[in-house]
Symmetry: C2
Subunit: 516 residues, 2 copies
């Protein structure tokens, strides 16, 4: 009878850039996502779970590097030689799903999605090739009321998770405003008086401005530099827009080679934020006086601010800020970013703000690829791992982890007795288990209980069995006494109790309640 | 400035064998998994989420077809030409995780895992290439108490989900018993009197029996035929073990070409179940009188039955049944299967039992591949989609789906007013949304509310605004009246109310409570 040849032992490790999540890591994320899902649901959004695998052609165009459609994703060929890939984000699959099922879905379609995405990028510290995203999008609503709603929902999500008002800020900008600056700056100010044009004249001039503005590599590259404003400041961006600069590591980063005058135009825009939304809007109208598309964007920002104010979301929570850029080329209207404003210490012990945990915006052209029809859409993506890290930082998740009650095994022939004890405890809703390792060494059983963070251990040897009693050890109190033996009050308190077998559940519950 | 060339439109469809899940499908599964996770947690199991991607060498040996390690999975090469693959199940990754992290994990390690797995197999009706599994395993516990615990936990899971006692049955067998039958039948009865042997003699004879028993293709193929007993019955299995048989479609299925006498031996074993566990065990001892490994398996089954009885799980819930085989070659001890015993109508309208929804067993050799050391392990995998289908069948999930309250838009310039209304409703915990489509056609707004299964629509036109009131439509009642206009009692009941704007939330809540 044939045998399989002996192969060398495989290595027990995840592929490079992947990791495992254990116990409380999984539970904390699940709980966080469940709270966010609750808010999304209250706003009328419906869950969607699309397949993890998509055809490369369905994903292709939305990859960060448009020249190399297979780069950046994990891809393979199926039995018919078609290229498949793991999804890169949750937005491209939404566009595919909406195009595929549009006849059955309500219009507008509000959906949320949460799950892993995969990126074939160089892994680094804290940068994995598989990570969670948590998105909400509205497809088929052209009104900026849809964008305002998503900003309000994002604020509600953060507060639902326990991030207090004042510790977060949602900053809103508009890609149209940016486009207006781009055309004004790169094509020279044409001294049109947009304000005095007819509606028709404005529209025609807007279309003229938008010609060649999308899918333009130089403009995309300008966007990416502007996006670094938060990180490198005005001077840094100026260098990146002109001749280039040295980064923190000393490496030289090429610039876009704009003129100083052009760079000044962009910097003025990035710094257009004022004390109030009204002042910021006025300043933007000044800068964009000669751009139809720019002024359209300012009008939208004004409308968003009004809508949010009517719902009670003031600029202390959601504010207009022209320095928000969002690098992705596919945004077409409002863009927004949520940042946490409380300070943490970075790896070098310096104080810094926690920073961005979510972002999104309007992308009206994503469904069009499939159907040929423009379908307006807007949405937000929450960075699950960063937000979870923030909640840990604020003590909103985590903290002390309580393990199960451990019933020890004093006599391996009486396993049935011990199993009956845990069954009683579990039926009373108490997390409990029997020690299932080799019971020979009792010390190992207590070490196990310690490793499991068990609050209580139960012991029933032959003597206890004969007398109809059990020993119950309060392990939390025991640890405190061991740690701090000088505290007389604790020394006097017993950490082990002998109770009748019939009182097992009641006594364990009493101890657990005392520990809570 | 360079432009991207226009590509033909991509097709909006999932790759073959993949699908999307919408709204209540996602929610029902999430709720089911959350309840199961609660039971697993109460039993002391800890969550584990391993990466979706593994090296092919880490998965390899556990694929169903050992000769072709890359078959059956979705695989690709990474930048260093190493083969990666999507996980095929949750057991192989557990073995890798345990081997990798064994110094940090408690021993025994109880873990649960839930998530998608991927199989590169031919898709068919109801057979997808991505589906959920939900597993619990105990690693490092040699005692059959670990197997008994998993069976009890499985029963608790089913009851927690609302499947009543009597509607499910967990059947337990032991691969050692099967191995005993295999050696007795295929090597001829050697007329050893195992019962009278010394412990040492038994062990030696056991080792002799086990020689060549694992990784044996013919034995694996016999196992697969025995596994079909539930489906094709004793006569069907007899043909599959001997000359072959025609299946329902008329196709001929090759047999294993055993002698009739050998086949009889297997059939006798499959039919060894008696009225009580004690009688079944006695019958097995008779059949296996000449097999040391077989009698060891019977002893384990007896111990499991005792442990379960002590915890209150009688044979009405968990029963010893020698006809449970479980095709997978890697099981080494107890095996179990949960089936739902209530009847459903199949696609042809015939009554049949719902069937298997979970299964598992002991697999002591899985970690050894990585470390060289045998690590005992046992676990169960719940078929998430089948169990969800069963719960829908029993009316335990699904039912009427209630959508959000829809605030209609009568005047698009007053969007801020409507947004303020939904904000109030949401703050009161009521699911609500503003209609965000084109508001021109009011009929479309009501059609939208209908498609969303909205319970209530809110209307505030210019007249209502001036009078400080809103109109609130009870859409559920409205639909009932429309459906059944002859019912006088409903005709007399109003389905639309005019209330003061300030009473909006209170009135909506009152209507929702009346509908519930």
């Amino acid at each position: 009878m044939a045998k399989v040849k002996k192969a060398p032992r495989p290595k027990a490790q995840t592929p490079k850039g992947f990791r495992d999540y254990f116990g409380h890591e999984v539970r904390e994320r699940t709980e966080m996502l469940s709270k966010i899902a609750g808010v999304y649901h209250r706003y009328g959004f419906e869950a969607l779970e699309s397949s993890a695998v998509e055809t490369v052609e369905a994903l292709g165009k939305f990859l960060p590097d448009v020249d190399r459609p297979n780069e950046g994703v994990f891809a393979w060929q199926d039995e018919d030689d078609n290229w498949m890939a793991l999804r890169y984000d949750l937005t491209a699959p939404l566009a595919r799903v909406y195009a595929e099922h549009r006849n059955d879905l309500p219009l507008p379609y509000r959906r949320f999605a949460m799950g892993p995405v995969w990126r074939n990028e160089k892994p680094g510290p804290g940068r994995y090739r598989q990570f969670y995203q948590c998105d909400a999008d509205t497809v088929g609503a052209a009104s900026v009321a849809a964008d305002a709603e998503i900003c309000a929902m994002l604020a509600d999500c953060l507060e639902e998770l326990g991030i207090p008002r004042g510790d977060y800020l949602i900053r809103v900008n508009n890609r149209k405003v940016l486009n207006g600056v781009l055309t004004s700056v790169t094509r020279g100010a044409e001294q049109n008086d947009i304000a005095s044009m007819s509606a028709e004249g404005r529209r025609a001039y807007r279309d003229f401005e938008m010609q060649g503005l999308q899918n333009d590599e130089i403009l995309d590259s300008i966007l990416r530099q502007l996006d670094k404003f938060d990180k490198v400041g005005a001077e840094g961006v100026r260098h990146l827009l002109t001749g280039g600069r040295h980064d923190a590591s000393g490496a030289f980063i090429d610039g876009v080679n704009l003129s100083d005058e052009m760079a000044d135009g962009f910097i003025a825009f990035l710094q257009a934020k004022r004390e109030t939304n009204a002042e910021t809007l006025a300043r933007l109208r000044e800068i964009l006086a000669h751009s139809a598309v720019g002024l359209e964007g300012v009008d939208e920002l004004a409308e968003i601010a009004d809508l949010l104010a009517a719902q009670g979301y003031g600029p202390d929570r959601i504010v207009i800020d022209p320095s928000v850029v969002r690098g992705l080329g596919y945004y077409t209207g409002p863009v927004f970013e949520a940042e946490l404003t409380f300070e943490i210490l970075d790896e070098k012990g310096r104080k810094r703000q926690f920073g961005s945990v979510a972002g999104g915006g309007r992308y009206d052209d994503l469904v069009k690829r499939f159907t040929g029809q423009v379908v307006p859409a807007t949405g937000v993506s929450i960075g699950v791992d960063r937000l979870l890290a923030a909640l840990r930082e604020k003590g909103r998740v985590g903290g002390s982890e309580t393990g199960p009650v451990v019933v020890t095994v004093m006599d391996r022939d009486r396993m049935a007795d011990y199993q009956a004890m845990v069954a009683e405890l579990r039926q009373a809703g108490i997390r409990a288990e029997v020690y299932l390792g080799n019971p020979k060494n009792f010390g190992n059983q207590l070490k196990y209980a310690d490793k499991r963070h068990s609050p209580v251990a139960v012991i029933e040897g032959g003597d206890e069995k004969a007398r109809g009693v059990v020993q119950i050890k309060d392990l939390i109190l025991g640890a405190k006494i061991a740690e701090n033996a000088s505290l007389e009050e604790w020394k006097e308190r017993p950490s082990q109790y002998e109770v009748a077998r019939g009182d097992l559940v009641a006594k364990v519950r009493e101890i657990l309640e005392g520990q809570a």
